[in-house]
C-alpha cells in the first residue's frame, strides 16, 4: 500500500504517531505525551485513543509489543510501537502539511518562517 493512500491522516492518528516515534508507549503515556507535545491543546480521550489504535493496527501503522519492563508496572499494559510503514506515512503527512503551510505563506495567510 502507498503511504499517500491514507492521507490526510485524522489528527488523532498523526498525534499518536508522533507520540510513539521515539519509544514504545502504553495508552496513558500516549495521552500524556500528546498533551505535553501540544501544550495541552490536544487531549485524547480513551475512546478516541483506542478507536484510533485499533484502526492503526489494522492499517499496519503500529504493532503491539510486550511491556519493556514487566516488573515495574502494576498492571498488565500493552505497548505500541511505530512500524516502518507508520514512519513513512507520518513523513508523507508531514510533507503534505508543510506543503500546505508553504501555500498559506505564499498567499499571505501565514507568517513566513
Amino acid at each position: 500500500m502507498q503511504p499517500e493512500s491514507l492521507l490526510p491522516l485524522p489528527s488523532a492518528t498523526f498525534h499518536i504517531l508522533m507520540a510513539v516515534s521515539n519509544e514504545d508507549r502504553h495508552g496513558y503515556a500516549i495521552i500524556q505525551d500528546v498533551a505535553e507535545l501540544t501544550s495541552n491543546a490536544v487531549k485524547l480521550s480513551a475512546g478516541t485513543l483506542y478507536r484510533s489504535i485499533q484502526r492503526m493496527l489494522e492499517q499496519d501503522l503500529l504493532i503491539e509489543t510486550e511491556s519493556p519492563d514487566p516488573e515495574s508496572d502494576d498492571e498488565r499494559r500493552r505497548y505500541y510501537r511505530i512500524t516502518p510503514f507508520g514512519r513513512k506515512v507520518a513523513q508523507a503527512e508531514a510533507a503534505r502539511l508543510s506543503q500546505m503551510v508553504k501555500l498559506a505563506q505564499r498567499s499571505g495567510f501565514a507568517a513566513k518562517a
Partner: protein, 865 residues
C-alpha cells in the same frame, strides 16, 4: 469503575474484549489525577467520549461488514438475486395490502377533528328491513339540530346531479347541495375564491357554485379568473365563487360541483319526505353513545308530537370514519392477512436459503472463528448480509407496491370521501421500512445463530458431513411452515373464488347481454310537466327503435342496481289499519312501454304498461312476483287495487322479481308505473332518466347515433353513464373479483416459494449426504429404494404441512364467513383441491433430487469426498 465497565458495553464486543482493560486503566489514572469537582467534569467528558466513539466504532464495523457482504454476494449473484426477489415480493405484497387497509380503514379522514364527525340518519327499522339508515326530512333535521346539546355543529347535504351549460358541450355533473355551515365544520378552505355564506342558503338567493379541482382543471382549464364565471345548471344561472383543493372529496369521492342547499318554508312541511343527509360534530368530551341516546330521546319527543308521521321514526348515529361496509372491511383485512402469509412464506424461504448458504460456508466460518472472530462478529456479519438483502428487496418491494395500488382501486369504496388510489406517503414508507427490517432480522437471525454453532467445532475436519441432524430438522420446520402458509392461501383463494362464482350466477331477474344503457338527467323545472317529458321520451324512443339492430328501447326512473333507494309505502285497502307500522315499502319505478321486453324481465301474467295508459285513464301498475306473494298469497292479483305514490292503482300485470338493490342484497318488492301517469311537479326524483336499448351486434356502434338523436330532441341535454347492462351487473362483483385476483396471485407466489423450498431442502439433503448414498448404493440399495426414501421425505413434509395449513385455513375462513356468499368455511372441495395441489408440488419438487440420488456413482462419490 463498575459504571465505567457498564458503559463500555456500548462498544462492539470485539473492541471491548480487546481494549476494555486498557481503557479502564486509563480511566483509573485519570480518576486518580482528577479529584473534587474535576471528577464530575471527568464523568461528563467520559460519557460523551464513550457515546461518540462507540458510535464510530460501530460504524467502522458496519462499513467492514458491508464491504464483506457486497464482496460475498457478488461471488454468488444467483443467490443474491433470488433472495432479493423473494424479499421484494413478500414486502411488496404486505406493503400494498397495508396501504389499502390504512387508506380505507385506519387513516384519519382529511377533516378537522374527524373522529368527532358523526353521520345522522332516521331509523325506520321498526317498519322496514332496509330502514336502519334513512336520509332525513328537512323538518326533522331542523328540529334535531335545534334540540340537541351533544353536537357543537350540524350541517346537511343532499346528492344532486345537474346538467351544466355554458362551457362547451352540455355536461352532466355529479354534485351535492350543501348547507353553508358544512365547510367550517370540516375545517377545509377553498384554494380559489370562497365558500357559501349563510345568506346564500336561503330560497330565492342568487345561485352560487363551488367547483371541484378536477372540474376546474378539465372544464375551465385551471384558469385563476374562474371566479365570477356564469354557468347554467339545469337552466338556472349560477356564479362560480370558488374552487376546492385537489384532495377534497365530500360527501363521497364523486361530486364535481357544490351548490348551496336552499330551503323554502314549504320544504319543512312534509315530515316523511326524506332526502337530505345530516352530519354533526360532537362537542369535545361527548361520546357517541351519549349523543345517540340523546338523539333517540329527541326522536321520541318528535314522535310524540307528530304521532301520525313519526310514530316509528328513531335516530341512528354512526361515526363518519366507520362508514365502511362489513364486506369491504373484511375484504381488505383478508387481503392484508393473505399478504402477511406471503411475507411469512417468503421469510421462511429466505431463512432457508441463508441457512443453506451458511452451512455451505461452514468451513469458511469455522476458519474465521478459529482465527479469533467472536460469535458476536459472525452473527453481526450475517445479519448485515440479510439486512442488505431485505433492504434491497424492500426498495424493490415499495416500487412493486406502488405499481400494484392502482390495480386495486376497485377495493376503495366510492362512498368514502377519500382519493381513489392510496397515496404513497410517510405512513406507507415507515410501514415498508419496519416490515423490511423485521424481515431482515427475522430471516437472518436463526441462520446466523445456527451457523455460529455449526462453525464451532468439526467443520475444519476434512470431509466433515455438513447438514444433517438438528440443522435439517430446522430446515424441515421452515419448509413445513411454507407449505402450511401456501395451503392457507390456496384454501382461502379457492373459497373466495367459489363465492365469487356463486354471486356471479345469482339471477338478477333480467337478461344482461345485449343491452346498452345511458342516463339523461332531465333538468327541472324545464321537464316538470309530463307532457314535456313525453315529447322527449317519444322522440328519443321512436328514433332509437328505428336504428339498425335495435329490438326495443325503454326509459325507466332508475335501472336496477344504479339507485338503491326509491321506495314508497304500500297501502292495501282493508288489509290493515292505516298505521305506518303495518306499511311495507316497495320500490317505485316509472317506465315506458317495452321496459320488460328491453330488460328481459319476464312478464308472468297480465300486460305491460301501455301508451294508452294516460293521465285521464285508470291508474295502473305492474307489480313483481314477490309483491303478489306478500300481499295476495295464492290469489289472482290482476284487477286488485292498492294505494301507492299518493294514488290508487289497479294491477294489470305481474313481472318477475329483479334484484334492484344489487346481487347480494335483499330488495323490496317492485312496482312499475307508466310514466304517463306521473303527476306534474310531483316526485321529480322518479322522472325516468335511464334509457335501455336491447340490440344485436356491437352495442358501442350505437353510441354516436344515440348522441345525435338526443341532441336533436334537446340540444341542451347531456348524456352520461353510457355503459352496457352487463357492465352494471359486473360492477357488483368487481371488488370481489379484484380481491380474488390479488389473493390468487398471492397464493400462486406462496405456492411457488414453497415448491422452491421443498426442492431446495431435498437437493441439499442429497448433496450433503452423497457419501452415505454412495455407500448405500455400494451395499446394494436399489434405485427404487433410494427414490422412495426421498419421495417419502417429501410426502411426509407435505402431509404434515397440509394438515396444519388446513386447520389454519379453517380458522381464517371462519373469520371471513361474511364474504363467502353461502359457501361454507368447511367446503371440502376447496380443502382437497389445495391439499392435492400441495402434495403434487411436493412430489414434483422431489423428483430432480431423487433422480440425482439414483444416478450417484459410488466410486466417484466416495473418491471425491
Amino acid at each position: 469503575m463498575r459504571l465505567y465497565s457498564a458503559l463500555l458495553h456500548l462498544f462492539p464486543a470485539g473492541f471491548r474484549n480487546e481494549y476494555a482493560g486498557e481503557m479502564k486503566a486509563v480511566f483509573a489514572r485519570k480518576q486518580r489525577d482528577a479529584g473534587g469537582l474535576l471528577t464530575v467534569w471527568l464523568w461528563i467528558e467520559t460519557l460523551c467520549d464513550i457515546l461518540w466513539n462507540a458510535a464510530l466504532v460501530h460504524l467502522d464495523v458496519l462499513k467492514q461488514d458491508l464491504r464483506y457482504t457486497v464482496r460475498s454476494l457478488g461471488r454468488s449473484p444467483g443467490f443474491a438475486a433470488t433472495a432479493v426477489a423473494v424479499a421484494a415480493v413478500g414486502i411488496g405484497a404486505t406493503t400494498a395490502a397495508f396501504a389499502m387497509l390504512d387508506h380505507v380503514i385506519l387513516k384519519p379522514l382529511p377533516f378537522a377533528d374527524q373522529d368527532r364527525l358523526i353521520e345522522l340518519f332516521e331509523d325506520h327499522s321498526a317498519v322496514s328491513h332496509t330502514g336502519q339508515e334513512w336520509d332525513l326530512a328537512p323538518a326533522n333535521y331542523r328540529d334535531w339540530k335545534r334540540m340537541n346539546t351533544s353536537f357543537e355543529a350540524m350541517a346537511s347535504y343532499r346528492n344532486e346531479s345537474v346538467n351544466m351549460l355554458g362551457e362547451g358541450e352540455p355536461l352532466r355533473l355529479v354534485g351535492s347541495a350543501i348547507s353553508w355551515d358544512m365547510l367550517p365544520m370540516l375545517g377545509v378552505k377553498p384554494i380559489v375564491g370562497r365558500w357559501f355564506t349563510e345568506s346564500e342558503d336561503q330560497a330565492g338567493a342568487a345561485g352560487t357554485a363551488v367547483l371541484s379541482y378536477a372540474l376546474w382543471q378539465n372544464r375551465f382549464g385551471g384558469e385563476a379568473n374562474v371566479v365570477g364565471r356564469k354557468i347554467l345548471l339545469d337552466n338556472e344561472a349560477f356564479t362560480v365563487i370558488g374552487v376546492m383543493p385537489k384532495d377534497f372529496y365530500f360527501p363521497t369521492r364523486v361530486p364535481q360541483i357544490w351548490t348551496p342547499q336552499r330551503f323554502a318554508p314549504s320544504d319543512y312541511v312534509d315530515r316523511n319526505d326524506n332526502y337530505i343527509y345530516g352530519l354533526g360534530k360532537l362537542k369535545p368530551g361527548v361520546s357517541l353513545a351519549t349523543a345517540r341516546a340523546e338523539m333517540r330521546t329527541i326522536a321520541a319527543q318528535l314522535a310524540h308530537e307528530y304521532p301520525k308521521e313519526l310514530a316509528h321514526t328513531s335516530a341512528t348515529l354512526k361515526s363518519l370514519r366507520d362508514d365502511i361496509g362489513l364486506q369491504t372491511r373484511l375484504m381488505i383485512e383478508a387481503l392484508l392477512g393473505a399478504a402477511a402469509c406471503v411475507l411469512l412464506v417468503a421469510s421462511m424461504n429466505l431463512a432457508n436459503l441463508l441457512l443453506a448458504r451458511a452451512l455451505e460456508r461452514g468451513r469458511e466460518l469455522a476458519v474465521r472463528t478459529a482465527i479469533g472472530a467472536g460469535r458476536e462478529r459472525i452473527i453481526r456479519q450475517m445479519l448485515t448480509e440479510s439486512l442488505v438483502l431485505s433492504l434491497t428487496g424492500g426498495v424493490l418491494g415499495i416500487a412493486l407496491a406502488a405499481a400494484a395500488l392502482p390495480l386495486m382501486v376497485k377495493l376503495v369504496p366510492v362512498s368514502l370521501p377519500i382519493a381513489e388510489i392510496p397515496p404513497v406517503d410517510v405512513r406507507f414508507l415507515l410501514f415498508a421500512l419496519g416490515i423490511t427490517t423485521l424481515t431482515g432480522v427475522g430471516f437472518g437471525l436463526v441462520p446466523a445463530l445456527r451457523a455460529c454453532r455449526a462453525a464451532a467445532a468439526d467443520n475444519l475436519r476434512e470431509g466433515a458431513r455438513s447438514g444433517g441432524g438438528r440443522r435439517e430438522t430446522l430446515r424441515s420446520a421452515l419448509v413445513l411452515a411454507e407449505i402450511a402458509g401456501s395451503v392457507v392461501l390456496l384454501v382461502c383463494c379457492a373459497l373466495l373464488t367459489r363465492a365469487l362464482g356463486r354471486v356471479e350466477t345469482i339471477d338478477p331477474g333480467f337478461r344482461t347481454a345485449g343491452v346498452l344503457t345511458a342516463r339523461m338527467m332531465l333538468p327541472m323545472p324545464k321537464y316538470e310537466n309530463v307532457a314535456a317529458r313525453d315529447r322527449f321520451y317519444r322522440d328519443v324512443l321512436t328514433k332509437t327503435a328505428a336504428l339498425p339492430g335495435v329490438e326495443s328501447a325503454a326509459f325507466t326512473s332508475f335501472l336496477p342496481m344504479t339507485n338503491l333507494g326509491g321506495v314508497w309505502p304500500v297501502i292495501i285497502p282493508g288489509q290493515a289499519a292505516q298505521d305506518r307500522s303495518s306499511l311495507r315499502n316497495a320500490s317505485l319505478r316509472f317506465v315506458s312501454p317495452g321496459f320488460f321486453r328491453t330488460l328481459g324481465v319476464p312478464l308472468l301474467s297480465g300486460r305491460d304498461v301501455e301508451a294508452s295508459d294516460s293521465p285521464t285513464s285508470q291508474f295502473v301498475a305492474v307489480v313483481s312476483d314477490s309483491f303478489v306473494k306478500y300481499y295476495w298469497p295464492n290469489q289472482d292479483p290482476l284487477g286488485r287495487t292498492f294505494n301507492f305514490g299518493n294514488h290508487d292503482r289497479i294491477v294489470v300485470g305481474v313481472a318477475g322479481d329483479v334484484r334492484v338493490r344489487g346481487l347480494e342484497r335483499l330488495s323490496e318488492p317492485q312496482v312499475y308505473l307508466p310514466y304517463t301517469q306521473h303527476h306534474d311537479q310531483v316526485a321529480m326524483f322518479y322522472a325516468p332518466k335511464d334509457l335501455a336499448i336491447r340490440a344485436s351486434g356491437n352495442l358501442t356502434n350505437l353510441v354516436p347515433a344515440l348522441r345525435q338523436i338526443v341532441h336533436e330532441a334537446d340540444p341542451a341535454q347531456p348524456i352520461s353513464d353510457i355503459r352496457t347492462l352487463a357492465d352494471i351487473v359486473d360492477a357488483e362483483t368487481l371488488p370481489r373479483r379484484v380481491q380474488a385476483i390479488a389473493l390468487a396471485s398471492f397464493a400462486f407466489i406462496a405456492f411457488l416459494l414453497a415448491a422452491i423450498g421443498i426442492h431446495g431442502l431435498l437437493s441439499f439433503g442429497v448433496t450433503s449426504r452423497i457419501r452415505e448414498i454412495a455407500v448405500r448404493i455400494a451395499l446394494g440399495a436399489s434405485p427404487r429404494n433410494l427414490a422412495g426414501t426421498i419421495l417419502g421425505e417429501a410426502a411426509r413434509l407435505a402431509i404434515v404441512g397440509v394438515a396444519i395449513g388446513c386447520l389454519l385455513a379453517y380458522a381464517a375462513a371462519m373469520q371471513m364467513r361474511a364474504l363467502l356468499a353461502g359457501v361454507t368455511p368447511n367446503d371440502w372441495f376447496s380443502y382437497s383441491a389445495a391439499g392435492a395441489l400441495c402434495l403434487l408440488m411436493a412430489v414434483a419438487g422431489s423428483l430432480i433430487p431423487a433422480v440425482r440420488a439414483i444416478r450417484v456413482d459410488p466410486a466417484i462419490a466416495i473418491r471425491t469426498e
